[in-house]
Symmetry: C2
Subunit: 710 residues, 2 copies
């Protein structure tokens, strides 16, 4: 070990209630929680007795542990500087220890780019940071509840962040060469238990509704991805009594699991081929065909009764193999199914635990224990604890998702359908990780102290296509349809739909057609009054958002703020009060200049800022009466700003001179429509605003005319 | 003649007072004025006894007279349809007779494109139009005064329009083959007078101020170009007693005037070469070297005492020749000088004439008369009347120029510095043409019944560069700086300047620098408080507008309305209350990323939405303190919307992540400026709106920060 004094005990209290209590006692509680966390993280590095352990890449695509040693301190500083609560202590350290937590790209692998400081210098830096934060905790006013906006929030953020790295760094240490480590360190001794392997079985979990999402008023610290609301009815399923043990997993290995492509997803097979994997990473194949096992600091005999630790891809392949062998629909649980099981065993949340319910919170050994150690209700074992459990569900935000301004990339880079959630925590999970609401996700090939429980269910897994819309043409229309109002200008699609609905109060309201529906808001709004609404847009990329809203009830998009800085936004139908009309709306791609004849029989056609964006608008206008029912309404909204790159000038409806006199588009409406329509009321102006960046917008004024079929 | 009955008399009352009188009497007055005008125009065509006269091109670049015969009726209809007062009578005629009054391009010359109707059919159409307008005059309510907005205005417009064509068509008839015409028509007989040629001489005109421009409250019909206000001090000059007679012009011809390039402007020499002209157009060179003369309907002996009729180019060449011969600064008068002479002879305006003061209003013969026939005060002849007089001045709008919405291309196409004004009227000038305020202009090579008077003056001719700004990048900034407010957002340059001036009330206010001044408004506004302001912009096309405002006090620009339809706008400093600061402002082109060192010693530097539009902004910011005096102010306004096509990302000041954290441009200000500046007050947001079309706008929110040099 490179430090002089050893930590004698690691204290891991549950994360703090930030709502209740005496403010000054809360201040001391936070101080204790900070120091205990900082101490625990220091203790994790004590077994790294060789300096080279700090600069060895435990994983080829990760920084060496020296980075992580400095990183948790620098994270505190960077967030507190951003919050304007402290000044920098060591700008150089606070740059090199800032980023690179995740897998790096191949470009970053060149060691020459990194001149890591000496661990002693980092230790000294950590000490300065500790003092700085300690002072800050002393000086800052404590106002309960401590909320997102509180200056104590970034302190809690730093603490919980360090608790995450306590676990993830332990996984990296588990990959260091043994000779760099002190396997005898008293604080990090693994279990010596290994029971005779048990036979797994299935236990029924009844159907039930799962309600997820943390309230903004919740008393405990949470990461951005935990907030919001989401509920789902879960059909009954069976789940394995135990986590899959090494012994159970061995059947898959010995049955040629790692060499049979059909068990693997495409991503899984790519991984297995690239890694040339033949068994789980912490299994150590011996020359005689037997296996040893890697704990955090040591190599031990294979503990067959411990849970198998795999990545998602291996767990998934095991399930596919098991399904084939049994003929049953075996798979991993979804996030919701995992919660259904948790609810079923009626486990209270961490702060209410009388004692820790499983192998969790560093209260047991520094390793897994046999899968039949910790029993829960209904005969299940390890519902939480021992190792994390893989799920089928890529992480995404719940309805109402917002990003904390001090940490805008905690979650959003993982909302890419490539990061699956792991649930339940492991022997080294502490703090927020123990909470029911917490949600962590990793790339599917990543290793943590994670295994799995399989389930048997006829319910299909719905994998949401949940990346963030970044198409620069589409995102202004996401905000335009579903986002904030700017300059006091009311939401345009809502307003234009309201104009239509007001006109139609005493009319037949069967089918409506929203042409130029962009990302779909007007179609949903119209469905509040019409039996069925079809939204049509020329651009499939726009329509896709409407389809997402209909199918999933929400959509996610980024908005440019300044330069490359973006903000993240989620819109959902429920919050807009439109969830009830989802079934009455559909979206189609269509071309106004050549619209299929099937689009007819409407009581309303809304032609929304589209005429001036189509290449040949007259044909549609000339025949639109054929698409409308008797007394049907045609509502035209237009800015009349013809553009030659979209509509050749010879196809403009107006905006030119004929025989020396100006002919406006509005004039053309009279010319083309008067035979079959009469105008209702006067034209009116409706403003709309399209956001480009935080400070730049398009602000337009559409003219709306209403025509009734004669 | 092709018509059955001949007109026995042409009545040409003065144009009507539209303000005073009994409404019903006014209705009948207008009706009479309409019929008399219509009659006079019909009478003009009576000498065209051969049908072919209607379809012969009198001028190779003009339509045949059948077009003009139909045109004045169609003009009535098109304006009244536009005003929504009548329905079309003959859509086909109202298309073919609508446009093509002016010289056409070579493309339009193909006769096959035109199938002209029979003159009888046009006569019948004219009769229908007459009835239609007569009915309209009966039906419309008469409210005095009749103003621009009155439904009687387009009727007056049609009448005065026809009076213009009465004259211009007579010039075309003067170019038809004689055999197509009845030279004996009693209404159109020329003068038989030809006095012995008189010797011209110069008479002094004293200096004086000329005030021009018609009031909006004026009682008489006016074309758009007459309104507004303009005044100029005219230095004394001498003017020729007589218009230049044919005899006087002969000296120039015989002295090789048409073959000596040095007398001609470049445009003039091009014309003389192309036309192979050797004398004025209505001089008819005979084989024996003598000349005959063309009147409207006949060929007569050369009337040497009549005014020489030339285009501007010939008149100008004569003056240059005369200047060379006499050694005196001989030239044509400017518009203002012509008015100075008119004021000097104290001629009242047409409606106040007891009798017509010259050869005008068809009250004399259908031709010129000798130049010594009509005497005015101080010994001048033909100050008005006989023939129009060329001037040096291209037509432009006065301050306050606006366009009548029913006739948006009466004047603006001629505001191109290529159309010079003719003044004073000819024997066939009637109606509005007789009024002091009227302003007509033609291309410089065009023929009318026009000659000239020369003057001798030391004053230089200032030819305003007075076209309409149409640069699509510049015009939004003309409106942005000098035009209307949209969405209730206050004029931005005025507001940003006011912020600066408010800050500086108790400070030294010597030199100020407005960087990114666009079209200049902020520089003028700052000059209200600073001794001198330099406005700098990267774009010379922007600066040009500021320079125009400084030099001339006004600028003119078109704005896109819808498609190709534009509106015309004039901005002037006087109306903005900024005329007094013109001398305290100058404009320079400059590049913020590489700004010359001479720009220093300022008490204020305004950096106006420019940082984010320059390619390398940091250098300037780092050294801007060197350009400021002690306690000098730096005011930065920015939308922070960096664009890679302008500023490479490595040169952005903010809008990116450093060590994983967002760095804003505002952060960069602190970093770069804090050593030499302290921030005054808080940042504030200032909105601005850039008009794109009538219904589309950019609406941005700049952040303004103020920095005081330490």
């Amino acid at each position: 070990m490179i430090t002089d004094s050893l930590t004698s005990e690691i204290k891991t209290p549950y994360t703090l209630n930030l709502s209740e209590g005496d403010p000054e006692e809360k201040r001391e509680e936070i101080r204790r929680y900070f120091h205990q966390t900082y101490d625990a993280y220091e203790a994790l590095f004590e077994p790294m007795i060789k300096k080279v352990a700090y600069t060895t890449r435990a994983d080829a695509l990760r920084h060496p542990l020296i980075f992580y040693y400095g990183h948790t301190a620098t994270f505190f500083m960077n967030k507190l500087v951003l919050a304007k609560l402290v000044d920098r202590i060591n700008p150089k350290f606070e740059s090199i220890f800032a980023i690179g937590v995740d897998e790096m790209s191949w470009d970053d692998l060149n060691e020459a780019h990194y001149e890591w400081p000496d661990p002693e210098a980092v230790r000294e830096y950590r000490s300065q940071v500790r003092d700085c934060i300690d002072n800050l905790i002393t000086e800052l006013p404590v106002n309960l509840p401590i909320s997102w906006e509180s200056p104590f929030w970034p302190i809690m953020m730093g603490i919980e962040h360090e608790r995450i790295h306590l676990e993830t760094s332990s996984v990296l240490i588990r990959q260091l060469p043994l000779e760099q480590l002190d396997s005898q360190h008293p604080l990090w001794q693994p279990s010596s238990e290994d029971t005779s392997p048990v036979s797994n079985s299935l236990i029924e979990v009844p159907a039930g509704e799962v309600k997820l999402g943390k309230s903004r008023e919740d008393a405990y610290y949470g990461w951005d991805n935990e907030y919001g609301s989401y509920s789902k009815d879960i059909t009954h399923f069976s789940a394995s009594k135990y986590l899959v043990s090494n012994k159970e997993f061995l059947e898959f290995v010995e049955d040629g699991g790692y060499s049979t492509q059909s068990y693997w997803t495409e991503e899984g097979w790519n991984w297995v081929s690239y890694e040339k994997a033949t068994c789980p990473r912490f299994w150590l194949p011996q020359e005689d065909g037997s296996y040893k096992f890697r704990t955090m600091l040591d190599q031990i005999d294979m503990p067959w009764s411990w849970p198998a630790e795999t990545n998602y891809l291996e767990a998934k392949a095991f399930c596919n193999w098991k399904a084939e062998k049994t003929g049953q629909p075996v798979r991993l649980p979804t996030e919701e199914e995992w919660y259904r099981l948790l609810d079923y065993v009626a486990l209270p949340d961490a702060p209410e635990w009388e004692q820790v319910p499983g192998n969790l919170n560093l209260e047991g050994p520094a390793s897994s224990v046999p899968v039949d150690t910790h029993e829960f209700k209904h005969g299940f074992y390890d519902v939480v604890g021992n190792v994390w459990q893989h799920t089928e569900t890529p992480i995404r935000g719940y309805a109402g998702f917002e990003i904390h301004p001090l940490y805008d990339d905690f979650s959003t880079p993982t909302f890419d359908t490539k990061h699956n959630m792991i649930k339940g925590g492991s022997w080294i999970s502490t703090g927020n990780e123990l909470m029911r609401d917490s949600r962590y996700a990793f790339r599917r090939h990543f290793y943590q102290h994670a295994g799995f429980r399989y389930i048997v269910s006829e319910a299909p897994v719905e994998i949401p296509d949940d990346s963030w819309e970044t198409d620069p043409e589409v995102i202004p229309y996401c905000e335009f349809n579903y986002g904030k109002e700017y300059f006091g200008v009311a939401n345009y699609p809502e307003k234009i739909a309201q104009i239509c609905l007001d006109l139609a109060t005493k009319r037949t309201r069967g089918k409506a057609l929203a042409l130029g529906c962009k990302t779909g808001r007007s179609a949903f709004e119209l469905a509040a009054g019409y039996e069925h609404v079809t939204g049509i847009d020329f651009t499939a990329r726009m329509i896709r958002i409407g389809v997402q809203m209909k199918d999933k009830g929400y959509t996610q998009y980024v908005l440019p703020e300044e330069g490359e800085i973006v903000s993240f936004h989620q819109a959902n139908l429920q919050e807009l009060g439109l969830d009830c009309v989802r079934d009455n709306v559909d979206f189609m791609q269509g071309d106004l200049s050549n619209l299929k004849e099937i689009y007819s029989g409407y009581d309303l056609i809304l032609l929304d800022t589209l005429l001036e964006r189509t290449y040949s608008p007259e044909k549609f206008l000339k025949s639109v009466h054929d698409r409308l029912n008797e007394k049907g309404l045609l509502v035209i909204s237009s800015t009349y700003d013809w553009q030659t790159n979209i509509t050749e000038q010879e196809n403009w409806l107006g905006g030119f001179k004929v025989d020396g006199e100006n002919v406006t588009t509005r004039d053309a409406f009279d010319r083309i429509l008067s035979a079959n329509f009469k105008q209702l009321g006067n034209s009116r102006d409706v403003e709309y605003v399209l956001r480009k960046t935080a400070r730049t917008f398009d602000h337009n004024v559409a003219e709306v005319t209403v025509w009734e079929k004669k």
